[in-house]
Symmetry: C2
């Protein structure tokens, strides 16, 4: 995608989500919504240091929180690390942790059948699944 057209598309998405498209937000949204793969805040800051110098860490965190509130990205907390990861796939899905590489892969809910049959009469409102193993 051509860079300027991509930028315009991102601006549109930000506005549609009620987020004012400042230079910092556009830059981060481009990274997060195109190409970033489950980055941590640190990953995002590292990208910013290389591609949008002088952006503060506070702005990285502020913008991540803003994009989460706007439902353009999702926060994901996984058990193998204490860092939050950010996910541009906002619909419900599961994750696969490759234990060799540490990489996270998305798994469509249709690829894992999950059927709770609890003894207890509980109402299940959500299911989170993490698969671990070797992806390749």
């Amino acid at each position: 995608m051509k860079s300027s057209a991509e930028q315009a598309a991102i601006e549109k998405r930000l506005k549609a989500a009620g987020v004012r498209p400042t230079a910092q937000r556009i830059a981060l949204a481009r990274f997060l919504l195109n190409g970033a793969d489950h980055p941590t805040a640190e990953d995002v800051k590292k990208w910013a240091d290389e591609n949008f110098p002088k952006m503060s860490l506070a702005t990285v965190y502020n913008t991540l929180a803003l994009l989460v509130r706007a439902k353009l990205i999702k926060e994901v907390k996984l058990p193998h690390t204490s860092r939050v990861i950010y996910d541009d796939r906002v619909s419900a899905h599961y994750h696969f942790l490759d234990e060799k590489s540490g990489k996270i892969y998305d798994v469509d809910p249709s690829e894992v059948e999950v059927k709770p049959r609890l003894k207890k009469n509980a109402s299940v409102r959500g299911v989170e699944v993490l698969l671990r193993g070797r992806w390749g």
Copy 2:
């Protein structure tokens, strides 16, 4: 269970697991293996302050790590909190988070059918499931 008999049983379990049964370890193991319900380190420290005064926070963390290595308890990291919880159920199982009370309930693997059918040819070595909803 009578207190002294309970203490003797705990000492036996510690020894069998290769853990020297010091006073601090016996006290914490009694709490963790009988009666504690998915406590955080802070919960354990609070119990110690009331039942074994002068125990340091370092000893709480040291002992938790030791009991985990000895496979008498398990560390569990769940997404709704940044605190680790400790679980005296060491066999594989799932968890249910009651969103009203914040309480964690154990779910036997037999109560949730999980069948990964990944497109990708990956080897699944473990599955973690968190159910969220109302338990009662």
